[in-house]
Symmetry: C2
């Protein structure tokens, strides 16, 4: 199963922030959108970085209350691990566990077309395994 299928089911909606949003605003946006990470885009819509729950934890640990007035552009993860829609779920899950990230922005020719979380991919893997098992049982029952 390919990432393109996950995006097809999930939709291409990406929750984004500008780099000059504060960490306080980012926390509110993470809560409101019920997501674990937001993408940070420049004025042309190009991907500058990702701001995740983990980035908030690190900045709060490091700076205390002063972290919350800091700008997302200074606290986001800039070296973003991404994926391509033609990759398999298995390859993306391997990359996520190796690199210890829980979100992968999906890029097609330098254009951001979506984001998937480790939970999205696990859910699709489970659904695929259950469909395969049901098909096998139906085949056996029909013999």
């Amino acid at each position: 199963m390919l990432i393109a299928h996950v995006l097809h089911d999930k939709g291409e909606a990406v929750h984004a922030l500008p780099a000059n949003a504060t960490l306080q605003q980012a926390a509110q946006e993470l809560l409101d959108k019920r997501v674990g990470a937001l993408v940070v885009l420049d004025a042309e819509g190009a991907l500058m970085g990702v701001f995740s729950e983990r980035d908030l934890v690190r900045e709060v640990a490091r700076l205390g209350p002063a972290a919350l007035t800091q700008e997302v552009g200074a606290a986001m993860t800039r070296h973003v691990i991404t994926a391509d829609p033609s990759e398999t779920l298995h390859d993306c899950l391997s990359r996520m566990t190796d690199r210890r990230v829980r979100h992968l922005p999906i890029m097609e020719a330098d254009r951001l077309i979506g984001i998937v979380s480790i939970g999205d991919l696990v859910k699709h893997c489970i659904a695929a395994a259950e469909a395969e098992s049901a098909a096998l049982q139906a085949y056996i029952a029909a013999q």
Copy 2:
């Protein structure tokens, strides 16, 4: 594959906090231990709740800088979704995606014996699938 096998490989170490630690201390502990969730234990070592990155985000969004002097006992998740060491990885991954949690404390007869993350379980599933595939290829090559 069972949760007991994951705990055997990973070890039973659980990073814990007392309920009177502040959210600032919790953020530091999440960062230092490089984990996404901590268990909150009472004086007898019984599980009172879980404090995760997501709990920190919610409290910061809700209270701003005042969140950081709050006690973990007031901000933790009390209705903890747990698992049993005899459960399969598949069942636990299903529960995690259904309930939208990324950590499962593992309980044996009301005693906390470990904690697993969605990343731990995915890593073990991938390793198991790769071992199965390698065994199958070796079998075919030997024919």
